[in-house]
């Protein structure tokens, strides 16, 4: 029997290329005659354009062309609405999407106004500086509540208010739950913006081959196929004339999704117009304005409980910061709305949100994609309730967990994939108990903390839970081919940004075909290699593409068995696939190399029998009816230096459940990296906008990312509840690590500071913000 690699920590196939500097990233693409592009971007968040004068810039050496919105003619169009609003009754939705170059009006700082094409990037930037932009400044809309005031300036002047959407979803009857409750707690919760800060900025290389009538685009996108389809339509080309390659991508985290960013739309148009290849590589400062961001929300939430700590209902009204345009529909606020309920059996829920346009960069999903906010509100409400009722914080969670026999658990509202929010499977209590045990919850609270406190040290513990809807549809596909060389090639449409797809997908195929993982070569992110697909987002790569690859590999296995059965005159059930061969069970001398079999299945003479296909190849697809719900528990012990308010993480434990695990080494890496991003989000990173909508910290000098000396070792453990929604039983894991870190910090810090009246109701925090909160708390209330 072949060794099963599924579940094994297999070393990655892609690493040698990456470690030796041989992997191709977008900026590594160099084409003969290539021109370089720089953008003129708005210095203002909200303004009317009076004049853009490009004459001086155009006359500069090396400048080939400069375009403004008026030069684009019919090609100037707002970008597509990528995700329509869900079928929720009474929903209001005003679609306003980004434009390639601002025309008439500027809606956020950094919005592109003109594009300069020159012989080098240096010359393009020189010329961009000489483009004169005259504007009439308008008051900026920055604050979410003030954005909705009747007196607020309008960002999209054809609307009567700065409202992108208004959505109400309900489960049960919260008003009745409120009447029955012993305790009601209501608070305001704030969550502010951060940026994904992938180490590789965005970039695009576009080349038009006029003889072949073929457009090739290298693009730092997570979703090359939708980009190909969209660009073909915009440019009036057949999809077959457009090839989009998402090569190695230096981190995605959401903002590199199928955005149809202005640069993505303009570069191909310029390449076709000038007949020369063009390249644009975003610089880090541009990335702070021109790449999408996330996380601004304000929640007014109330929880209704019995005296025993059973949650009767939650009522939440929140504002969501959409930024200047909302091309990605309502995915982020819907995730907040749907993830709030978490692991808990909550019979009554009222959730209402207003998505608000502001003069800030565009908001689209960033790792966690709105789930953070919901988890923050719910976990904080439970902490406050535990405190109010004198119940232990782990105990109050246990009293409300969904029980194993309640699955599939229907939350009676609509999720971001437009399917009912039904959890497929889960087993929450063992994970919570495991985390309690590993972190030493009882011992810490009863012994260690009192001892350290007596010694004057401020130590505290946090423990929170979360769920994550993962692996949503619509579908992915894959083609698996056994080549005459014996190597196996796999093509799929999703992009890859470091998740280890070259290895985990190879494992799935290797197990079916009895070949070495290293003999399986994956091609992904190239529309010429596979035509159909959606992309890498929503923790769906392993679930959806993984199962499509599995299905295709199973089909190839069947072809191998059938062909070998004919060749060896042995029944299929008496054959086995081992070491790259197929043979009669226990008879190594009968082995045929898979490569040889592939050759025999694709003969140059003779006939391929009717009803059969040449070669050993199959294409298959997988589309889940709805997403699979992963879950987990994070626990942490911190110590606070009261002189500096620096929070040091002493221990960090993650127990999580993403169903069956393909490669535990890769999975642990995803969790560790997610937690590091969560730590940044909770305690280091905040995009600070002033009242004019100017970003005050648009550099890595001013915007703090977690570094090796601040991110602790993450201890991980697992509970495995397979998903019944896909044959491999897997659930997504890419975003999990980043989701619950905010409420974990809040709870642990409160615990460490030891003041039972202090409430931390906002994220991100920082040492200086903790100082401010403590100062405000200690001042006498008036």
């Amino acid at each position: 029997m072949a060794t099963r690699t599924f579940g094994q920590p297999i070393r990655r196939n892609e690493d040698p290329r990456l470690l030796t500097g041989q992997a191709t990233f977008t900026d590594d693409v160099h084409l003969a005659g290539m021109l370089h592009v720089a953008f003129v971007r708005s210095q203002y968040a909200h303004a009317r354009i009076k004049r853009i004068d490009t004459a001086t810039a155009r006359a500069m050496p090396g400048v080939v062309a400069i375009y403004t919105a008026s030069d684009l003619g019919d090609y100037w169009k707002p970008g597509p609405l990528l995700v329509p609003p869900p079928p929720v009754k009474g929903l209001i939705f005003n679609a306003r999407t980004q434009v390639p170059l601002a025309k008439g009006k500027i809606r956020h700082a950094g919005e592109p106004l003109a594009v300069v094409v020159a012989e080098s990037r240096y010359l393009a930037e020189d010329a961009a500086e000489q483009v004169v932009v005259e504007v009439e400044m308008l008051p900026a809309v920055v604050d979410l509540e003030r954005a909705l005031a009747a007196t607020s300036p309008l960002i999209h002047e054809d609307l009567t208010q700065n409202i992108n959407a208004h959505v109400v979803q309900q489960k049960g009857n919260y008003a009745r739950a409120r009447q029955q409750a012993d305790v009601l707690l209501k608070r305001r919760f704030l969550y502010d913006r951060g940026t994904a800060a992938a180490m590789e900025n965005r970039g695009i290389v576009a080349a038009w081959d006029a003889r072949e009538e073929q457009l090739t685009l290298w693009d730092t996108t997570q979703a090359p196929i939708p980009i190909r389809n969209g660009l073909a339509a915009m440019l009036g080309l057949s999809e077959q004339q457009v090839r989009v390659i998402a090569p190695f991508i230096g981190g995605g985290f959401g903002p590199k999704i199928m955005m149809f960013y202005p640069e993505e739309v303009l570069l191909p148009w310029i390449a076709m117009r000038l007949g020369r290849p063009v390249k644009w590589i975003e610089d880090r400062q541009e990335n702070f304005f021109a790449t999408t961001q996330e996380r601004g929300q304000v929640h007014d939430a109330e929880i209704a409980l019995t005296r025993q700590g059973k949650v009767l209902g939650v009522h939440d009204i929140f504002l969501h910061d959409a930024g200047a345009y909302a091309p990605y529909g309502l995915t982020v606020p819907l995730n907040s709305q749907c993830t709030l309920l978490g692991q808990y059996d909550i019979p009554n829920y009222y959730s209402e949100f207003t998505s608000v346009f502001t003069n800030k960069p565009i908001v689209t999903p960033y790792r966690g994609a709105g789930r953070q906010h919901g988890v923050f509100v719910m976990e904080r409400l439970l902490d406050l309730a535990a405190r109010e009722l004198g119940i232990d914080r782990v105990e109050i969670r246990k009293r409300n967990l969904i029980a194993p026999d309640q699955f599939p658990y229907n939350n009676a509202i609509i999720y971001q994939d437009f399917a009912p929010l039904t959890y497929d499977s889960g087993n929450y209590l063992p994970a919570l108990e495991k985390a309690v045990e590993i972190i030493g919850y009882n011992q810490f609270l009863s012994e260690e903390q009192p001892r350290l406190r007596a010694a004057g040290r401020s130590v505290g513990l946090g423990i929170v839970t979360y769920v994550e809807g993962t692996g949503i549809g619509p579908y992915e596909g894959a083609r698996v081919t056994v080549e005459a060389s014996g190597r196996v090639s796999v093509a799929t449409g999703i992009g890859t940004q470091g998740q280890g797809h070259y290895t985990s997908f190879a494992q799935i195929v290797a197990d079916q075909l009895g070949v070495d993982v290293r003999a399986v070569r994956l091609v992904t992110g190239d529309t010429a290699a596979f035509y159909w697909g959606a992309g890498t987002f929503a923790s769906r790569g392993a679930v959806v593409a993984g199962n499509a690859i599995h299905a295709a590999a199973v089909a190839v296995r069947k072809k191998i068995l059938k062909k070998a059965s004919d060749e060896l005159e042995v029944a299929e059930e008496d054959l086995e696939l081992v070491d790259g061969t197929v043979r009669e069970v226990g008879a190594p001398e009968t082995a045929i190399k898979l490569g040889d079999l592939a050759l025999r299945a694709n003969p140059l003479r003779g006939a391929v029998k009717p009803g059969s296909e040449p070669g050993l190849e199959a294409t298959d697809y997988f589309g889940p009816e709805r997403g699979a719900t992963a879950s987990g528990v994070h626990a942490m012990i911190v110590e606070i230096d009261r002189a500096t308010m620096m929070v040091e993480i002493k221990r960090y434990v993650v127990v999580h459940d993403c169903g069956r695990v393909i490669n535990p080494m890769i999975l642990a890496g995803q969790i560790q990296g997610g937690v590091a991003q969560g730590i940044g989000n909770a305690f280091y990173e905040q995009l600070v906008f002033d009242a004019n909508g100017q970003l005050m910290n648009a550099s890595f000098m001013d915007y703090l990312l977690p570094t090796a000396d601040t991110v602790p070792r993450i201890e991980t453990d697992h509970v495995e509840t397979p998903s019944p929604l896909n044959p491999l039983g897997i659930k997504g894991a890419g975003e999990a690590g980043a989701i619950p870190v905010g409420p974990l910090f809040a709870q642990a810090i409160e615990d460490a500071l030891g003041d039972p009246t202090l409430e931390i109701l906002e994220i991100p925090l920082s040492p200086s913000r903790l100082f401010e909160l403590l100062k405000a708390h200690s001042e006498p209330r008036t």
Partner: protein, 158 residues
């Protein structure tokens, strides 16, 4: 057009002679003039460490040096660490073994930050590793596996 200055530099043991604008960044010179694209650019202001190379054996950031400043000097980039993909440098092997990279964009800079560090600290502590790594940002791994890879490289299994 613009005045150019001759530069002679040895990169990975090969001597190159070029004539460049004085303002050309060393990172752009390596990537776009010499086509050594393994050196990556993450921030262009010296704070992320992705573009780190060795200049006469010392780890420096190539995005805050001009090409003309390295005239007559010797550089090692990530392309100079291994003879080919099947014969990795022990530190590269350790990175693969411990899954110390995900997207791999920051990896060349991290490898080159660590090489002189390991040469001077044969048996580094975890804290010392974390301190030297603190100038390199990795957005994917959470650093833990990088630390473990360095420990493995310093203490290879028998």
């Amino acid at each position: 057009m613009t005045e150019r200055t001759p530069v002679t530099v040895t990169v990975n043991g090969i001597q190159y002679e070029r004539s460049v604008e004085a303002r050309l960044l060393l990172s752009d010179f390596l990537r776009h003039e010499l086509n050594l694209t393994g050196t990556h650019v993450g921030c262009e202001h010296g704070s992320c460490g992705a573009c780190t190379i060795l200049l006469d054996g010392a780890a420096v950031r190539s995005c805050i040096l001009f090409a003309v400043q390295v005239n007559g000097r010797a550089i090692t980039t990530v392309e100079g660490l291994a003879s080919d993909q099947n014969h990795l440098h022990p530190l590269q092997e350790a990175f693969r073994e411990k899954h110390a990279l995900q997207c791999g964009f920051c990896t060349p800079g991290i490898l080159l930050t660590l090489i002189p560090f390991l040469a001077e600290n044969a048996q580094p502590t975890e804290q010392a590793i974390r301190t030297v790594l603190s100038g390199n940002i990795c957005r994917c791994t959470g650093y833990q596996n990088i630390v473990d890879a360095v420990l493995l490289a310093a203490n290879p299994l028998p």
